[in-house]
């Protein structure tokens, strides 16, 4: 190796190193911009939450939960809204979970792979992309006037049930898909029928995944406003629906299903739409409560899924 050649290599290397330094500066710059972009969503949410809490903090007391809405902002409360939300969620849960899980089971375990299952699949993924307000129109035409359910808890619960159905179906399918064929074969090998395999094994091992999907779906339903407004829910409700539990046999009644109602996000929208700023305080407090509830639910679901992924190793 001549010294001349060596010198040329070294000179070349210096140029290369200078170029790399330049390129690395771009890298650094982009990494910084990227981090800011990523944080932007989070920071906005934080700002939003702090804004709601600061605006709404005078109303964070038990009174707020036990008062009916009122013409006077200071004494208006959330009682009918949170009771309404709870009852609507009950109906939603009771419709979306059985139907969604059954549909997921059918698609994963039973459906032949042909145009028929394709049709269902296309519909599920399409429904997931339909704006929620369209579900409201469906419910207005079908449940409110078609079936004459009126603007009731039943209508609202069914509407939100349909809305979250795709979420439950998709998460059920994903949970089932994680179960290895070997488990199924082991059960068949000892003479189990298909339904025995499905109910004893498939459902059991996919419980966690299904639960995750159900929680995410329910938290979506709790915060949904548009479809409930569309069915014509009243916004000023100063009474509670009849109690689902009665003191005479058979101890439950279904009158509450027909009752008028309001829910948390509707109550918030109502207060927010008023020009009087005093009501905005109530809206802010309600918003903070809704965010806390949905974040807690989603957080639980995400944590649950993380745990499931960590623990189960087939």
């Amino acid at each position: 190796m001549t010294t001349e050649m060596k010198a040329s290599v070294l000179k070349n290397l210096d140029a290369v190193r200078a170029m790399i330094r330049r390129h690395k500066r771009n890298d650094m710059l982009f990494a910084m911009v990227g981090l800011v972009a990523l944080m932007l969503g989070l920071l906005t949410l934080l700002t939003l939450f702090i804004d709601l809490v600061m605006d709404g903090y005078p109303r964070f007391n038990l009174q707020f939960f036990s008062d009916f809405p009122s013409r006077r902002a200071g004494s208006a409360g959330l009682l009918s809204a949170w009771v309404g939300s709870a009852l609507v969620m009950l109906v939603t849960f009771l419709t979306a979970v059985p139907v969604g899980v059954a549909a997921g089971l059918y698609l994963e375990e039973y459906a032949p792979k042909n145009w028929f299952s394709d049709l269902i699949e296309i519909n599920v993924s399409n429904l997931a992309g339909v704006p929620s307000i369209i579900y409201g129109l469906l419910a207005l035409g079908l449940f409110v006037y078609g079936f004459n359910f009126g603007q009731s808890i039943l209508t609202a619960g069914l509407t939100l049930g349909l809305l979250i159905l795709p979420i439950v179906i998709v998460s059920t399918r994903e949970a089932i898909r994680g179960i290895p064929v070997a488990i199924r074969e082991a059960a068949y090998a000892v003479g189990a029928t298909k339904w025995q395999v499905v109910s004893d094994h498939v459902v059991k091992y996919s419980q966690g995944g299904i639960l995750t999907g159900v929680i995410i779906g329910m938290s979506r339903a709790i915060g949904e406003t548009a479809p409930i407004i569309t069915i014509g829910a009243l916004t000023f409700i100063a009474f509670l629906p009849p109690s689902p539990i009665s003191d005479v046999a058979p101890f439950i009644n279904f009158q509450w299903l027909d009752s008028g109602f309001t829910v948390l996000p509707i109550q918030m929208f109502n207060w927010l739409s008023r020009p009087d700023h005093a009501f905005h305080i109530n809206a802010a407090a309600t918003g903070a409560i809704i965010i806390v509830v949905t974040l807690l639910m989603n957080g639980t679901a995400i944590y649950l899924r993380y745990k499931i992924r960590k623990n189960i190793k087939w």
Partner: protein
């Protein structure tokens, strides 16, 4: 035996390598790469030959937790390319690599070959055109693609794609070229083309090739290294390794008793 007058282009000195899970994949390897020669790495799967090859352009740095110990020294500048202060990018600009499976980018044939130059901020159209043509000629692909340079690279056959990847690696005038089982995904005719190409390429640069095919090693390489369980068992002139291996294990592997 080893020709002492041939200069050494790079050498591994007491090289150890640990994967992020703690597995030691390479155990104190010492080996030279002679300039403008082809060195072949052979051995059973999992012996560490690809791991060793990928140390030469710091590919392991792409995955967190991997650790090198020891040195790989490049000549004539005596740079230890594994040193923490040496940027892996600098190493990769000097040592290019051809992978097991052809991995062209979702770009045109022209842009694939020009990629390394663009990464090096080359913007002059004339220079790019010239270099792309030269590299494609060097990779024996020019005649097949000269009329369709603006076609997507995915439209080429497997063998053509691999030669395109060689052209891509060639376009930046690397000092060393690494081949990681370059023909394992190809048919015999495409394999023969690539082997012929490697023999032509060594006129200009130093080559290190991993192969699971012993005939290939015997056909193309000047030096051969036999690795087993992360250790370099035997290194020497290819003729000598294949005709008079000094170690029993090498002989067993070469004669097909094992591996």
């Amino acid at each position: 035996m080893v020709n002492i007058t041939t200069p050494i282009k790079a050498e591994a000195r007491d090289l150890n390598f640990f994967y992020s899970n703690g597995n030691q994949a390479l155990k104190s390897i010492n080996m030279p790469l002679y300039e403008k020669k082809i060195t072949a790495l052979i051995g059973p799967s999992g012996c560490g030959k690809s791991t060793f090859l990928r140390c030469f352009n710091r590919m392991h740095d792409l995955y967190p937790g991997n650790k090198y110990q020891g040195q790989i020294v490049m000549h004539p500048d005596n740079t230890n390319i594994l040193e923490a202060g040496v940027d892996p990018i600098e190493v990769r600009m000097r040592i290019s690599m051809v992978f097991q499976k052809p991995n062209p980018f979702p770009k045109t044939i022209y842009e694939n070959v020009a990629y390394g130059l663009r990464v090096r901020d080359e913007k002059n159209k004339r220079t790019l055109d010239d270099k792309v043509e030269e590299a494609l000629k060097g990779a024996a692909l020019w005649n097949e693609v000269k009329d369709r340079l603006q076609d997507l690279a995915f439209n080429l056959s497997g063998g053509q794609q691999q030669r395109l990847c060689i052209a891509r690696a060639l376009a930046t005038d690397p000092e060393i070229m690494l081949f990681d089982e370059p023909t394992s995904a190809l048919d015999p005719i495409a394999t023969a083309n690539i082997e012929e190409l490697m023999s032509e390429l060594k006129e200009k640069l130093t080559i290190l090739v991993v192969t699971h095919n012993m005939q290939q090693a015997a056909r193309v390489s000047d030096y051969t290294a036999y690795m087993y369980l992360g250790e370099l068992m035997e290194y020497g002139d290819t003729n000598q390794i294949f005709t008079r291996p000094t170690r029993k294990e090498t002989e067993d592997y070469i004669t097909g008793k094992f591996g």
